[in-house]
Amino acid sequence: MANGKNINKTMNGAQLLIKLLELQGVDTIAGIPGGANLPMYDALYESSINHILVRHEQAAGFFAQGVARTTGKVGVCFATSGPGATNALTAIADAKLDSIPIVAIMGQVSYSLVGTDAFQEVDTYGLTLPITKHNFLIRNIKELIKVIPEAFRIALSGRPGPVVVDVPKDVQLQTIEVTDLPEEIKIISEKIEDPQTINRIKEAAEMINNSKKPVLYIGGGVINAEASNHLAELAIKSNIPVTCTLMGLGAFPPENPLYIGMVGMHGARYTNLLMHEADLIIALGVRFDDRATGKIEKFCPNASIIHFDIDNAEINKIKDTDIHVVGGLKEILEKMIPSITNNARKEWLEELDSLKNKYPFIMPSKSDILHPLNIIKEIGNILSEDDIVATDVGQHQMWSAQGYPVKKPRTFLTSGGLGTMGFGLPTAIGAALANPDKTVVCISGDGSILMNIQEFATLADLNLNLKVIILNNGHLGLVRQQQELFYNKRFIASKFATNSDFAAIANGFGVKGIKIENAENALEIIRKHIKEPGACVIDVPVSPQENVLPIVPPGKANYEMIGGEE
């Protein structure tokens, strides 16, 4: 990597920007050029940075997320002013809600024209203000030297999130004499030294030691903090059952008997019922989202709450806590674990077993080969624990969360907070490029895949080891399910009038397309194509009648879930 010291060079703003990105360790940028960012592209011409030409700026943002979600490093994307910037917004908002560190660098019309309704001018700063962790509009070339490393620091530090840097074209073309440039930002996590905090951690340990029925409630914060080993140590030492939110999947190994699956709206019956019995909830890196808690007044009514989180604003936001600590989860758990006593928790684990036997997660019959859950289970058998699954949004996403065994952090990529259809394919492409030694599978639906289907072209360009499995039910399945269950079966706008031939479409883009016609040999065909290196798209017909169960009806408590019984 280039070293910034003693550069002694005259550069324009665009060259300086690219140099600063190189110095932050950026090796890949996804984007689309246009009038307002052409100087940046001209500077990229001379850079070691690899540029991925996607086909839509939303995909550039999701590509960056695919890099960030799998590596923990900042993902970077480029877009031009106006429509380029507005196209990228969805992916930026998505990164905000899931706390994903990306930096989006936008071209802007020249600063001298800002505010004049110039061609392709849009107020990117104003538009991105509510959907970023922070945003910058550069007014002067000198600001770049401070702002670019700062953007990376903001994206990565504390609770991660997206940062937008809007760079007017005249700033890209201004020149500057550069002597000294900043080095790569390193985030150093804060040690816990404050005696009051240490006391509270001790009190929390005592509360855990004295509890009879504790449950660890785990969110994406544990993955961002890379604290899953500490979580495992705590859970095993004190025999505490562990449940994960959608974003927390992968933070705890599912084969461990303490694991009780995903909590909430589509959690298993025994999971939600066990939570209801708990006398202590240890909430780590979670935000008590309504999809996880159900009706909050009735969430774990008998439990005290311990909440550890990096973001002070999450404490007492939705649920009042008995003990909370704000800080890095690794550091907090490191301090707490020595005060945790070994505890067999025989009665509590027996209660877990009996609830699990009585109200298990119900799998469909094996003979129903093309039931989405059976296909997803099989994908779980085919892939190794290091391989990566990205989902789109809908029923297939929830079935993936229920049925795919996520064994390691950063191997399950899903749009949790924003729930963005179209997330899957471009995120999977970013993940595949950043993880060339892994197989990446994108599990999508026939609705979602069409929201970024143009990225088949990028996939063809790169021929990545990426398999797209489309669970094709001819419907916006999750919408159909809602209408069936909660709108008196008044089905509207949830069934597609025509069915696209995705294998032919893939072929048209230059990606191998496979259409599975019926259940016969279906799983063998899927296995064969996942095992083969390279890209492919597999269109799998599934029944439109299936529902994701159990389900907590809107506004109900988690224990009031319906369905999913034998």
């Binding site: 700063y125 104003g126 203000l129 509510p130 962790k133 945003n135 509009l137 903001i154 002070n312 936001k317």
Partner: protein
């Protein structure tokens, strides 16, 4: 004006053209009530002081935490000695301009 039902938050911010939209945007998108706002430069420094008149209710804690997260906000205090009534007198205090257009 009933002084107990309102509270004045005093914040110190880095002064640049976008900072006010960050603050008012936060109140709008989090559905916090903002009853009044006063803002001025601190001497000839780069910083500004902003006084926000807000409801004194259970959301105050969350408002303060969210303000503390804003990048340009350096300090957030509850101004115990500030008089909410100042906000209802603003028009009288301000109306003495000789700006001519």
């Amino acid at each position: 004006m009933d002084n107990n039902s309102y509270c004045v938050i005093e914040i110190t911010v880095k002064n640049h053209p976008g900072v006010m939209s960050h603050i008012t945007g936060l109140f709008a998108r989090r559905a916090f009530n903002l009853e009044g706002i006063l803002c001025g430069k601190i001497g000839d420094s780069e910083d500004s002081r902003i006084y926000l008149l807000v409801d004194n209710d259970e959301r105050l804690d969350q408002i303060i935490k969210q303000l503390q997260k804003l990048y340009d906000v350096m300090e957030v205090l509850i101004c115990k000695t500030c008089k909410p009534s100042v906000f209802s007198q603003i028009s009288e205090i301000v109306k003495n301009s000789d700006c001519e257009i």
